[in-house]
Structures are given as structure tokens and as C-alpha cells.
């Protein structure tokens, strides 16, 4: 299969269908609308359902129904729409219903702007709905990862019976890059817990209601066990030149790409800099951060928000290393020069010696996804 140039937003839809997804319920919003548009084009052709709902509230509750009936299903939106979906997401987490939700982040709060930000981190990673629950979150930084991580999201959703977010800033959805897809489509499988209108599934019940105190506590503890398992098994991050790094840059999505360019340039000038790009935001790649802290003397977190992921980095490092923060908001992008300037300043303060240019091996050789 040939690599094709396409938007991340289009890659998501194709990947979803190849992963066995047959239902898309959504509501248009910039910068996620191409996802609904591509879904409208393809889902009916593959024997699936596409429906533009009357609101994001309805859309997420349609996912609740579709997932209850045992089909792989998804939606896509952006900040304001995700806010409206939080009710249904909490219900789905409570009722243990898998689904995939793509959030193409724009500016906020409120109507904010349609420019790319990373300011939905808190509402997505921390869970914006009511109750003690988590959603699993993957964070692509290329069109290829929009495809790959969407497929992974469906696997995780079924494995954990839980909603999974594909969280990307607007840039990643709008950007076109070459994408290659798996040759074979995954065959949809109906899970045994689903309610499908058959004798075999007649005794099945989907609910998030547990009226007794002990009953609800036991249910939440059961959910917690799943989250602990995910924390053990699903942390993912890209470590790029972190082995010998004394300053580690941390950023996800588009920022991860910028930091890669900064890392390359810093190393070319002899500075021991590396990049740690979280690929899962929940579970957060805590183990990788701790491992890097053994050698690194400082961490620099860069975000397109007021500082949301940085709190998780600080929590993971628990004060053992200083964590600097640099950000832009409103659709502005942290510049290469600003990050490099901060890195040089830090290196100066730390008295880091500038060595001869450090190697920057080719992308393929260095790129490693850590499965912790």
C-alpha cells in the first residue's frame, strides 16, 4: 500500500474503519469538522452508521447506545463540544462502555478561538465529568500517529471497557503528512456483555447506577483496579536522545515536533539535550520521567496552554529536579528560538560544558517507543 498524503483528521477516520469501527455520531466544530465529513463519506459505504446529532450531548449519548449494543464507535469534537460531552463520558466510564473520542483542541475558555491550543488537557486527562473515573488518553504528534494511535485507542477501549481519547491540537488534524495504513481491516467482534436484542444477551444490563453505598464503592474500586492496570501496562512515550541528556524537554503533540527540532539544534551546538514526548497522557509516562531524572539535571515543559501537563510532570518528579515551564496561548506557537534561548540560559546557569556537536542519529534509529 502506497503512503498517502492526507490530513490527520482524514487519517483518523480511515484508521477507525480499518480498526473495525462502524459507528460515528458527531456534531461539527472547527477544527474537527473534517473528521465528521470524512466519516459521513465513508461510514455508509462500509455498512456502518454516520449520524450528525442535534448536539454533542446527543452525540455522546448515541455512542452510549451504540457501545451498549456492542459496536466499535467514535466521535470527534473540540473543546466546547467536549465540555458538552462530559456528561455522557462519565456515564460511559461508569457503565464501562468502550468508545473513542477525538478532541482536536482549539482555544478557550468559552468560545475562545478556533486556533490550535492544548488547553483541553485538564478536562480530558483529569476527567471533566462527575465521579471517580479516568479516560485513557493518547496524544498523536503526526498524521501517521493520528492513524496508529486511533487504532490503538480502539484496542485500549475494548481491553479496559472504557472511553479513550485521541487528544491532538488543531495543527495535528489540519496538517498533511504521508500516512501508511495496515493492509488488513480488523473484523468487528461483538463483546459478550453487550445488549444486542438476542436470547444470549437478554440478561445483560448496561447501567452506571449503583444505589447501595457498598455496592457503589465496590464498583469504583473495580474501576480503580482497571486504571492501576493501565498505569502498569500502557504508559508510552517517545524518548529521543534522552540517554545522555542533562536537560530534558517535555512536550506532546505539535509541541513535541517543535522540541525535536530544538533538540537537534541544541545537540548540534554541543548541548546535552533530549526530548521526552508523552504518547499517553493518561496513564502519564511517570516511569520514563523518573528514569530520566537519574541523569538529567533539569526538565523543561513546553505547552500551548496555561500550564496543565506541567503539573503532571512536577507530580511525577516530586521535586527531585527543577521543572521549567514555557508556553504560548491563543493559537500562538512556542517558537524554536524561545525554547532554545531558555535551554541555553539553563545550560549556562547549570554550568554545562558545551561539547563538540553531539550526534543526531537518523529518526528511525533513535525513535523508540518505551513500553513501560
Amino acid at each position: 500500500m502506497r503512503k498517502q498524503l492526507m490530513k490527520g483528521n482524514e487519517a483518523i477516520v480511515r484508521s477507525a474503519i480499518l480498526a473495525g469501527c462502524r459507528a460515528f455520531y458527531g456534531y461539527p466544530i472547527t477544527p474537527a469538522s473534517e473528521i465528521a465529513e470524512a466519516a459521513a463519506l465513508y461510514f455508509s459505504q462500509v455498512g456502518g452508521v454516520f449520524l450528525q446529532a442535534e448536539s454533542e450531548v446527543a452525540a455522546i449519548n448515541m455512542l452510549y447506545g451504540a457501545s451498549s449494543a456492542g459496536v466499535r464507535c467514535m466521535t470527534a469534537s473540540s473543546g466546547p463540544g467536549i465540555s458538552l460531552m462530559q456528561e455522557g463520558i462519565s456515564y460511559m466510564a461508569g457503565a464501562e462502555l468502550p468508545c473513542v473520542i477525538a478532541d482536536l483542541m482549539r482555544g478557550g475558555p468559552g468560545l475562545g478561538s478556533i486556533n490550535a491550543e492544548q488547553s483541553d488537557y485538564n478536562q480530558v486527562v483529569k476527567g471533566g465529568g462527575n465521579g471517580s473515573y479516568h479516560t485513557l488518553v493518547v496524544a498523536p504528534s503526526s498524521a501517521q500517529e493520528m492513524a496508529d494511535l486511533t487504532a490503538l485507542a480502539f484496542e485500549l477501549a475494548d481491553k479496559y471497557r472504557n472511553p479513550v481519547f485521541v487528544l491532538a491540537d488543531g495543527f495535528i488534524g489540519q496538517m498533511m503528512e504521508p500516512v501508511v495504513f495496515p493492509e488488513r481491516a480488523v473484523a468487528p467482534v461483538v463483546p459478550e456483555w453487550a445488549v444486542t436484542g438476542t436470547r444470549e444477551t437478554r440478561r445483560n444490563l448496561i447501567t452506571s447506577l449503583h444505589l447501595g453505598c457498598d455496592e457503589l464503592e465496590a464498583h469504583i474500586q473495580h474501576l480503580e483496579e482497571k486504571y492501576r492496570k493501565a498505569e502498569r501496562e500502557e504508559q508510552r512515550a517517545e524518548n529521543w536522545h534522552t540517554e545522555d541528556a542533562e536537560i530534558v524537554l517535555v512536550g506532546y503533540g505539535m509541541v513535541g515536533r517543535i522540541l525535536k527540532a530544538v533538540t537537534a539544534e541544541a545537540r548540534a551546538s554541543g548541548l546535552p539535550v533530549g526530548l521526552l514526548r508523552p504518547i499517553t497522557l493518561y496513564p502519564f509516562p511517570v516511569a520514563d520521567l523518573k528514569r530520566r531524572a537519574r541523569r538529567a539535571r533539569a526538565f523543561v515543559v513546553v505547552e500551548m496552554s496555561n500550564g496543565q501537563m506541567v503539573e503532571d510532570v512536577r507530580l511525577a518528579l516530586n521535586g527531585v529536579r527543577p521543572v521549567e515551564f514555557l508556553n504560548r496561548m491563543g493559537g500562538n506557537v512556542p517558537s524554536h528560538e524561545d525554547v532554545l534561548g531558555l535551554v541555553r540560559k539553563l545550560a549556562g546557569e547549570m554550568g554545562l560544558k558545551v561539547h563538540a556537536a553531539r550526534s543526531v542519529a537518523s529518526h528511525e534509529e533513535q525513535e523508540q517507543m518505551a513500553h513501560v
Binding site: 502506497r2 480511515r14 472547527t30 498533511m176 444490563l205 515536533r257
Partner: protein, 488 residues
């Protein structure tokens, strides 16, 4: 009593099979429901269970229970059960039915759930003609939460949140959902029934069975509103409550059939499954051949094109970039294309970032381009200073603005729009400029550019025009280069 004696009796009335024998999902008192004496839910549940029995669809039935007193409908119905968020039952039912068209989906909702918080969901489910049966239990009050006002509360009726009685001025008028939905084209069947006396109850039984039957027949949206007593909250005896349904509620909510298209309605069609092998083809992923390593872009020099293209919306800025990126991919390079997006697309300026490289591309953002294609003056002024020393500016204009002149960049300034106009269409200026860029960069085989253009410009006339425009751009660059070398 001996078993022989029993056989002498014929059972003419028993608990419907679609109820569980004992209610094991209930914590205590598993032989009876949680409903109050005289509550309409018990009666409606029984009618619904009987309809499911009579139609023989117990295995196929999926019941969506709401938030409200009937939240625990799944305690009683021995069918597939899904419990929904407050007001969302008809959205949930929509997707269950669309996922499993063979199932019989019943959305059971109260008046707070359906007419207030779920008013949007029911309206749109009805308007889409979803093939579901909706049982709407209207008791003119929020009962489970202790008797607050609902949109269905009667004028003057007291509730805990209308302690002086509902006033039209503050809360508006009682919402007649059946009449409202009957204004829509799609619903197949809408009827309002009551539980005011035995005659009404018999009619309610017929209506509920009909709604379920419509779905068994594959027809569309059916809606039965049931005026239902709530003695506990109304603070009336069961008998007085029935009278209140008959004598008071009915005045605001007249009983009767509001829509009946069951004879002429056609069964809904459902999508058919498609073979897995055909998926990549449907998704357009099987076009073209994989790029083989030996076909990789022109040998020799390293390639690192960092291009910013900018101009007015409508000048073909994004397409220029896309053809370049697509051609790069065809030639086996790493590429990225990043647009500015949003309102800028509608008017004003538009720009995109394009990178082509032999190496993996780190950042797709081009903040310091080595080629700037400026299709108008504001774009030139905005991005000119960012161009890398030694880079190129290709500018659409006769004269290069003096304030933008830099000694450390190369400039090709020509009236590209006019040149394109002479070729037959001013809109091809983008391709003339791309031609100049391609000639300058000398990194891509023309065959790759042709392939890219073929993929992106399907119209034969425009394809031919764009090919001419690209060739013209290449000529113009060569001519300019000759001039420069003479001058140099």
C-alpha cells in the same frame, strides 16, 4: 392442594413472561415493585410486558430506562436492558436500534426526562423517524425528586418549586409533547391515552401494543403518551388520582390519535455489511504503487526545502503547497504541509508551511523559510524578514517594494497573475509561481510533479492549464537566471 386439582383450572391471567419471576436485581422485597400504590408505572409496565409477550419479541427487545421513578425498569423486565442518562433515552435508543436493526427498541421516559431535559433528543429522534417505540409517562410533575414542577405541570398546579401554583407568566404553558411531535413529517404513530378508568386503560393497552408492533413490522417512530396517576406526589388517593386524570389532566391533554401512518408507512432500510477485503479500496488506499527505494528522488544533493506560501484567500495558496508536498512524496521524500486555517480561509490572507526533505521532518512549522512564495504585497511584508539568508523570495508583483529589499536573499519578482492571465486564466498564477520554485529548487522530477497534479486536479481543462502554467514558470526562472548571470 394437589396437582390434579390444579389441572382443572385454566389459567386466564398470569404475570407476563417478559417480567422476571422474582426481581433479583432489587435489594429487598423481590416479589413486588418499588412503585407506590396507585402509581401508573405498574400498570404501564404490565401493559408493555404483555405486548412484548403477545408479539413474541422478548428475546429481541431492548428496553431503555430513563432517570425518574422508572429508572429501575430493568429490575422487572426480562429483556435486554440499557439504563440511560437523564433525558437521553431517545438518543441512546437511536443508536441501539441503528446498531441492531433486528432488535425491538423501547424508550421508556417520564415527563421531566422527555419534555424538559430531553426535549431536544426526543424532537430530533422523532424528526429523523427513528424506528423506536417511545412510551411517554406524563404525570405532570417530577415525582422521583419529590414533586418539582415539570413543563407538563398544569396551570395553577402546585409543586415544590411552584409553591403558589404554576403561572403562565413565570413558567409558561403546559407543554403538549404529542401535539408538538405531530407537527413533524416523520412519525408513524402518535397517540395520547390515559389511565383514568378501565376503558381508558384498555385503550392504553391497545396503543402500547400497536407502538411495539409497528417496530416489529420495521416501521418508524411510534409515540404513546400516557396520562398517569401519581397519588403520592399529588397527595390524592389512588381513586381520586384516577379521577384527576379524567377530569383535570384530560382538559389540558385531550386523549386521542394524533398521527397514524401505520398502513402506508414503509419498512426502513438498513445498511448492509461490506466485506473486509474491500475496505482499503473503499477508503481510497489502494491507488498507486508503493514508492520503491530506487525511484527515490533525484540523486545527489541534500534536499531541505522549507517553504512558506502566502497570499489572499482564493489565490490557490494551499493548492500550491499541496502540489509541492504531493510531488515530494511521489519522489520518495519526507514531506509535510501545514495550513493556516479558520476564518482566514474565507477572506483576507491564507498561508501554508511546506517541508520537503530526505530526512525525517522534525517540526512541520516553517518559521524561517528558505523559500517564500508571496502572492501579494501584504504577505511579502509579513514574511519577508523571516527568510533565511541565502534563501529565495518569489514575489507576485512587477516591482519589489523597496522596504522589503534584502541583500542576503535572492528575489524573483514578476507579475505572475498577468502572466497566468495571458496563459488563459489568472487563477493559474499559483502554478506559474510553483513552476519557478520547482526550477529553482531542481529537486523533483517532472514526472512526480505531473503525478501530483493529476491526483489533485481532476478536471482535464484545468490540468492542461496548470501544466502550461508550470512550464511557463520554469521558463521564466531560467530566463531570470540567465539575466542574473549576465548581470553578475
Amino acid at each position: 392442594m394437589s396437582s390434579e386439582l390444579l389441572t382443572e383450572f385454566e389459567v386466564i391471567h398470569e404475570k407476563p413472561r417478559s417480567f422476571y419471576a422474582t426481581y433479583e436485581r432489587k435489594e429487598e422485597l423481590q416479589h413486588q415493585t418499588h412503585y407506590c400504590p396507585g402509581c401508573g408505572h405498574g400498570t404501564i409496565h404490565k401493559m408493555l410486558a404483555r405486548a412484548i409477550d403477545e408479539l413474541g419479541v422478548q428475546d429481541r427487545t431492548v428496553l431503555i430506562s430513563p432517570v425518574g421513578c422508572s429508572v429501575f425498569a430493568y429490575y422487572y423486565f426480562d429483556v435486554g436492558n440499557v439504563q440511560a442518562a437523564h433525558g437521553r433515552a431517545s438518543a441512546v435508543a437511536t443508536a441501539v436500534k441503528r446498531t441492531r436493526p433486528e432488535s425491538v427498541v423501547i424508550s421508556y421516559q417520564g415527563d421531566g426526562d422527555l419534555s424538559a431535559i430531553g426535549s431536544a433528543e426526543i424532537l430530533h429522534a422523532a424528526n429523523r423517524g427513528e424506528s423506536i417505540a417511545v412510551i411517554f409517562v406524563n404525570n405532570a410533575i417530577y415525582s422521583m425528586t419529590g414533586g418539582q414542577y415539570a413543563p407538563t405541570t398544569l396551570l395553577g398546579q402546585k409543586s415544590t418549586t411552584t409553591p403558589l401554583g404554576r403561572s403562565a407568566q413565570n413558567e409558561g404553558y403546559p407543554l403538549r409533547m404529542s401535539e408538538l411531535l405531530a407537527t413533524l413529517e416523520a412519525p408513524v404513530y402518535i397517540e395520547r391515552v390515559g389511565l383514568g378508568d378501565n376503558k381508558q386503560i384498555a385503550q392504553a393497552q391497545r396503543a402500547i401494543k400497536r407502538a411495539v408492533e409497528n417496530q416489529v413490522r420495521g416501521l418508524g417512530f411510534s409515540f404513546v403518551e400516557v396520562l398517569s396517576p401519581c397519588p403520592t406526589i399529588w397527595k390524592l388517593s389512588p381513586v381520586e388520582s384516577q379521577r384527576w386524570v379524567r377530569e383535570v389532566m384530560e382538559k389540558t391533554y385531550p386523549l386521542g390519535v394524533l398521527r397514524d401512518h401505520t398502513k402506508e408507512a414503509q419498512p426502513r432500510r438498513w445498511p448492509e455489511a461490506v466485506a473486509l477485503e474491500s475496505m482499503p479500496g473503499i477508503l481510497g488506499l489502494t491507488d498507486g504503487e508503493a514508492v520503491l527505494p530506487e525511484e527515490l528522488a533525484a540523486v545527489g544533493k541534500p534536499i531541505d526545502l522549507q517553504v512558506r506560501v502566502a497570499g489572499f484567500g482564493g489565490q490557490g495558496v494551499l493548492l500550491l503547497g499541496e502540489v509541492l508536498a504531493e510531488a515530494g512524496l511521489d519522489a520518495g521524500l519526507e514531506v509535510s504541509w501545514l495550513p493556516s486555517y479558520g476564518p482566514e480561509m474565507r477572506s483576507g490572507t491564507s498561508n501554508c508551511h511546506v517541508r520537503l526533505s530526505r530526512e525525517a521532518i522534525d517540526s512541520p512549522l516553517v518559521t524561517t523559510p528558505n523559500v517564500l512564495v508571496a502572492m501579494n504585497e501584504p504577505s511579502l511584508k509579513k514574511f519577508d524578514k523571516a527568510v533565511k539568508p541565502g534563501g529565495w523570495v518569489i514575489y507576485n508583483g512587477d516591482t519589489f517594494p523597496e522596504e522589503c529589499a534584502r541583500a542576503d536573499v535572492h528575489v524573483l519578482a514578476l507579475p505572475f497573475t498577468q502572466i497566468a492571465d495571458e496563459l488563459g486564466d489568472a487563477r493559474a498564477a499559483n502554478m506559474v509561481m510553483l513552476g519557478a520554485l520547482l526550477e529553482m529548487a531542481n529537486a523533483l522530477p517532472q514526472a512526480s510533479v505531473d503525478a501530483a497534479l493529476r491526483r489533485l486536479v481532476k478536471n482535464a481543462k484545468y490540468f492542461a492549464l496548470d501544466e502550461r502554467a508550470l512550464a511557463r514558470g520554469r521558463e521564466l526562472f531560467r530566463a531570470a537566471e540567465r539575466e542574473m548571470s549576465h548581470a553578475g
